[in-house]
Subunit: 493 residues, 2 copies
């Protein structure tokens, strides 16, 4: 059978301030429609049913990934979220995915995709992916998707093609052996590659049988391969979580290209006629965005006078721009970026600087999504925090308690059912309630329209981890109760 | 006696988003120290006692002007705030000021200053102003302060000098007759003026006897002069407010230069050796601000990488700027400006656009000062508004009631004394209270540290004018009770 593997790592630095460490690129909607992750799921869904889709994520992105999945999923068994215990580039998660799939489907084929690329047209993608899966089913090879370069790009890796593999080639796509992998070239080399026509962009899409991948791993990464097989014995046992953590601790922190494919003699490249975009930085938005008459890409709350070739993203407040050119201006609730297009790669430096100052603007947005809805921090200061909390219809937060803070709630829209210790109380617009610290409480929206509550927190410690959960519709547990086993089984459930 | 007249009109468009219609330039601190208005008051205070200072303001700026005065004032009788019934350029307020001063001091001399200029050094200013007042006391002339040009400025008016008036001249400053007033010249003309050395910048500072001004007005503006004398008969009577309104309705909407001085043959110019700056737009900040090694003026919450010659004003959120040059970037709670320095004059166009869309960002800030403290709007939506309210120690809001909204308060700092109908309640941090609509209430800070309350408003109408005041420490009345008489007498009190 064919299985889809969506690699949803990502560090959230290049699209700051729209992306954050807890909200990386795959969650963004850069083309104004779906998030990149949702687009990736929709793209493969016609070919691979969602219960054979595996989303590989780091622990920080599990919650938001599950939320996107709920938005993207159709009827039937849900997609699988595999939560990595830590970030380990692409070799380790692909090895684990191959292992887990081999266990349930010994001849299974993996179609590996990035979660944050723009790819079209849809028919071509599906036809090429089917061709690739067919080839992988019948050949002991790792198939890469190569894209014919259209410019001397220095930001991508390249595949140098060998001979054409005639039996595997079709009218749609020719298939080649791969002579070598070339790391990001300098400009002169990139210009040569463009002229020679035998170098393709390495798109980060791969198709292979689980068994082929694991055999190649055994040959080129013997130590890791043995550790992996050791882990294999624990899968489905109570030891699994701890064993996975151990495996990841010692796994090579490297990409599948560098750690395996460059050394393998079983790599083929499929020359894919696709409109493929690895949107690498803010300036890359120019490639696919609609522009006004003066070349500006404008979204949201913007007043633009006499500007040229700018990317202007407004949000809640007014962004007024006058007489500027070649700028990226991105406004968010708690951070504003003004950057020359030529310097878009330097956005990372700002994120590094913010991290070194321990500033929350590197980590997360003012608005945080939760399975039951979302909250926005309106203001905070010593010993207080003010949030606007939106609870979706027929949803409820966990039954919980705080050790260090009291909470005051005022309903401003919808109707709330509040549990406070043994009592159940209905609150409607214009009513309020105080929740003293160490009392057990729950907010529920029993109604058909969103419930909005203003929450004023008071206390000596106001972080999100001051929460003891007694029961939860979303199987979340309090931080002190978290174990890796729980996380992993939650992830595979 | 000598009287100081500070002209504090101003429309708040050129320094948007830092300035707003309700918060024009004179209230800003552009040099990082005092507001321009406070600086103007401090500058003249050593020479003219504050009870002979008159601040001429439009009705929208009365409250903020009084707040600045409280900050600037020393012991003794307070300065006078004259509230114009509407904005009418400079001729009308100077005519009324002359009239009111003639009434209490027939030989009184008026020293007229703008409220929003930067002037130094202080000793020179005081010495020149004394010389000018001495001259005006003994000569039937209107004395203007001319500034020797240092660049071919096209944004100012010029004074063409006639003959030197030897008896009035001193070692400090020579005095000349004025041959003519020249409106803002083109660049070629400005270059000639700079070379010829007989043209001075018209600084907007004037010194004259009230009687001289009124006599000149009679000669050159006969109709308005007669209307003014008609108004004079009502001053101090119950008819004064209405008469002032009528006078302003028909007053010429013109500057004192254009409406009087250009026609007068009694104008002298004092060549003032002053460092004088009419800070006309954001780009003018370069003239007097401290810069980093790459020529950037940086204030507040800014991360600046590889920028040149920019003006970067951060506020609460992070402003990150990378690789830009010659930009003005100003971030505020509800609006962000990104503007090329060469286009700084176009900031007005943004304000016009916002006004045409009826947007509040043209009018006021999220944070509004009040005599008792300030409030900030944290969030608002249909039927709700959330404010952070800070009450200064030993201050209280009016005893008031709302017809259309209920309020919910949570104390997050300090101690509140709440009056709710007949009850008096103390609330401390972490306590809350609900104020139903149509109940009379008052918040007071009886303590020694600021009181901060989070207020959640619910209701069908949430504007500031839904307030019925029963008593107020600051003599404010409810909108429906306002009359011009009240305003005027409040203004002269």
């Amino acid at each position: 059978m064919w299985h889809g593997i969506i690699m949803a790592g990502g560090s959230g630095t290049r699209f700051w301030p729209l992306s954050r460490e807890l909200y990386p690129k795959q969650f963004l909607s850069l083309d104004g429609a779906n998030s990149l992750l949702q687009g990736t799921i929709h793209r493969i869904q016609p070919m691979i049913p969602q219960d054979r889709l595996w989303i590989m994520v780091g622990p920080k992105h599990e919650s938001e990934t599950r939320r996107v999945l709920r938005l993207a999923e159709t009827e039937g068994l849900p997609a699988r979220v595999f939560v990595e215990p830590q970030s380990r580039n692409t070799l380790a998660p692909l090895a684990v995915a191959s292992l887990l799939i081999r266990k349930v489907d010994p001849d299974g084929v993996l179609a590996v995709m990035a979660s944050d690329h723009l790819i079209g047209p849809q028919e071509n993608f599906l036809a090429l992916m089917k061709q690739a899966c067919d080839i992988a089913e019948h050949n002991d090879v790792i198939l890469t998707f190569g894209i014919q370069p259209v410019r001397p790009e220095t930001g991508f890796g390249y595949l140098e093609l060998g001979n054409q593999v005639s039996p595997a080639s079709t009218d749609l796509a020719r298939v080649f052996t791969v002579r070598r992998f070339v790391e990001k070239p300098d400009r002169e080399t990139a210009i040569q590659f463009l002229a020679q026509k035998n170098h393709l962009w390495n798109s980060g899409m791969f198709v292979f049988r689980a068994s082929t991948f694991l055999a190649e791993l055994r040959e080129h990464q013997r130590v890791f391969s043995e550790q992996l097989e050791e882990f294999a014995g624990t899968v489905g046992t109570p030891k699994e979580g701890k064993a996975l953590k151990k495996l990841y601790d010692s796994a090579p922190n490297t990409s599948v290209d560098y750690g395996l494919l460059e050394h393998s003699r079983k790599v083929w490249a499929l020359s894919a006629a696709l409109d493929w975009k690895d949107v690498g930085s803010w300036s890359a938005l120019d490639d696919f965005s609609e522009k006004d008459a003066r070349g500006n890409v404008i979204r949201g709350n913007v007043i633009s006078f006499h500007n040229d070739n700018c990317i202007l993203f407004g949000d809640k407040r007014v962004l007024a721009t006058i007489g500027v050119r070649d700028l990226i201006v991105v406004d968010t609730d708690d951070a504003t970026l003004v950057c020359h297009k030529d310097e878009a790669q330097r956005v990372r430096e700002v994120v590094s600087e913010l991290k070194s100052q321990n500033r929350v603007e590197a980590l997360e947005h003012r608005t945080t999504n939760r399975p039951w809805g979302q909250y926005t921090i309106l203001d905070q200061g010593p010993h207080y925090k003010i949030k606007s909390v939106t609870v979706n219809p027929h949803s409820r937060l966990s039954y919980q308690m705080h050790l260090h803070r009291s909470e005051h709630w005022v309903v401003i829209a919808g109707t709330a059912r509040i549990t406070l210790e043994d009592k159940e109380i209905y609150l409607h617009v214009n009513q309020s309630i105080d929740i003293p610290k160490t009392t057990r409480h729950r907010i529920e929206n029993p109604g058909k329209v969103p419930l909005i509550i203003i929450e004023v927190q008071n206390g000596e410690y106001l972080e999100e981890d001051d929460i003891i959960r007694f029961s939860d519709d979303y199987q979340r547990v309090s931080p002190e109760e978290t174990s890796d086993t729980t996380r992993l089984h939650g992830g595979l459930a």
